[in-house]
């Protein structure tokens, strides 16, 4: 790995307050291609606010987000036009919601859910779209026979895997994930986690994964950022932060895991 290549995503002193209530404060980091960053902390620590700021779904109160576009030019996301930002979202980025119903269109078939993202980037040939959709259903371990079912009749784990297929079909370079395994049964979580881990490595994806589950962070990420009350209190290599936590709050998080 060349450690000198320019970052894909840069957060500079990002802050967000809702009136007098603090969302997050002074968050800075750089994420490179192929790197997975986990943002951990308990509910209300500002993790989801940060994810929304990074993905331009929220406007920051202070600071900025920069992104290196496919042409190699790094741009301030706030300076992009609405159409450019939408295009980014449809092609180069993925966003995996904890609640799969937010990331899927529940009334259309699984195949259409995957095909729609392809059509958004210009695919028109029905046969090819269908075969790509089938290929992706297989990659996320969904029985191809279920391609014409709507996600309404899918289980929670299948919906989440379908959401992942829908996100990855356009070969994005960056994926945002908000509690990707939250709300699933433990056995379903393990399967999803392994699937995600494999796909992220195979496709060389960069990802920002928000989770309160340290096992998810351990399994999926290279680096960790620990947040508390809107601020980043500790960062480092994932195994370093989890095996040798320095801050009192991080030690509490690590110590709070119940051994199986």
């Amino acid at each position: 790995m060349n450690t000198d290549d320019p970052p894909l995503l840069i957060a500079e002193h990002l802050g967000k307050s809702y009136g007098r209530r603090l969302g997050c404060r002074d968050v800075s980091f750089a994420l490179h291609a192929g790197e997975v960053l986990a943002v951990v902390g308990e509910s209300g620590s500002g993790k989801t606010t940060l994810l929304q700021l990074l993905s331009t779904q929220l406007a920051p109160t202070s600071g900025r987000v920069l992104y290196r576009l496919r042409d190699g030019v790094t741009r301030d996301l706030a300076a992009l036009g609405e159409a450019e930002r939408r295009f980014l979202f449809r092609t180069d980025w993925g966003y995996v919601h904890q609640d799969a119903t937010l990331g899927l269109r529940m009334a259309v078939s699984a195949g259409a859910n995957v095909g729609e993202r392809l059509m958004a980037v210009g695919a028109r040939h029905y046969g090819r779209i269908r075969s790509t959709a089938l290929d992706w259903l297989e990659r996320v371990e969904i029985d191809p026979e279920r391609i014409d079912d709507t996600p309404r009749v899918y289980s929670g784990g299948m919906r989440q895997r379908l959401q992942i297929a829908r996100n990855l079909v356009t070969q994005p370079r960056l994926v945002f994930m908000d509690e990707p395994t939250g709300g699933l049964d433990v056995s379903v979580q393990a399967r999803l986690l392994d699937l995600l881990r494999g796909l992220v490595a195979e496709l060389g994806l960069a990802a920002v994964v928000v989770t309160h589950d340290l096992a998810v962070a351990r399994h999926l990420s290279h680096r960790i950022m620990v947040m508390k009350a809107g601020e980043v209190i500790e960062t480092g290599l994932t195994d370093q932060v989890l095996d040798d936590p320095r801050e009192p709050y991080t030690q509490l998080l690590v110590a709070s895991i119940l051994p199986p």
């Binding site: 393990a190 392994d194 490595a201 095996d243």
Partner: protein
């Protein structure tokens, strides 16, 4: 004759103290003033009773534990990197290419077959999957792991089988530095012998090795230098 090779690994004044914030900020000094060098083709064994900080030293060299003081200099692709100061990306690059680590226990990944667990570091280093799997299989065979297990996830294997998967994973890539934490602890004599042979091969290829081995016989067969860690833990207390 001045062909003495420069060291691959140099520790100078390394110190580690744990501060336990949940126990009222109790400070647990582990080691201080850890200084030694490891040359290519040399195996250094860390010795001393349990709790003297042997594993902590290995973990600091790997970047798994942070270092409170001192430097850990690793020669890496023609440059020198101080693990104690390196950021996450440098550490990951170092682990991919330069430092291998065989931990005491395998951190099993559910659902991933043993052969892929072993091949993974090679694939991460850029070797094509089929070639990496072939080499992984050869090493598993040398470590007497039956072929019928290769396709199964190691989570359900016995302690000795898991440890051999772990050893294969650590020994497969050609790293300049190899860290071994009790590699033979749960192995029988035949498999311990296989590990002794593997260590000898690594040394012939110039790998610098730091090991923790409690078994005196095995240690005497692999180690060129013994370093008693007790003096570093005394310095920390």
């Amino acid at each position: 004759m001045s062909t003495k090779m420069p060291p691959v690994l140099e520790l100078a004044g390394v110190a580690k103290t744990f501060t336990m914030h949940l126990q009222g900020g109790v400070r647990l000094p582990v080691v201080a003033g850890v200084s030694f060098v490891v040359e290519p083709a040399q195996c250094v064994a860390l010795t001393g009773p349990s709790g003297t900080g042997k594993s902590s030293i290995l973990k600091m060299i790997f970047g798994n534990y942070r270092c409170d003081a001192g430097s850990i200099r690793v020669h890496h692709d023609g440059e020198v990197i101080d693990v104690a100061q390196a950021g996450p990306r440098r550490l990951l690059a170092l682990r991919r290419r330069t430092i291998g680590y065989v931990s005491q226990f395998l951190r099993a990944v559910p659902r991933v077959p043993a052969i892929d667990v072993v091949a993974e570091p090679l694939i991460a280093a850029g070797v094509a999957r089929p070639a990496a799997r072939t080499r992984a299989g050869e090493l598993l065979a040398r470590l007497n792991v039956p072929e019928r297990l290769w396709g199964l996830p190691p989570a359900t294997f016995s302690g000795g089988e898991q440890q051999r998967i772990n050893i294969a994973r650590g020994f497969l890539p050609d790293c300049a530095v190899l860290l071994l934490d009790e590699p033979t602890a749960s192995l029988d004599a035949r498999n311990s012998d296989a590990v002794v042979d593997l260590v000898a091969e690594k040394k012939r290829r110039g790998t610098a090795i730091v090991s923790i081995v409690h078994d005196d016989d095995i240690r005497s067969r692999i180690a060129d230098v013994n370093i008693d860690v007790t003096r570093f833990s005394a310095a920390a207390a």
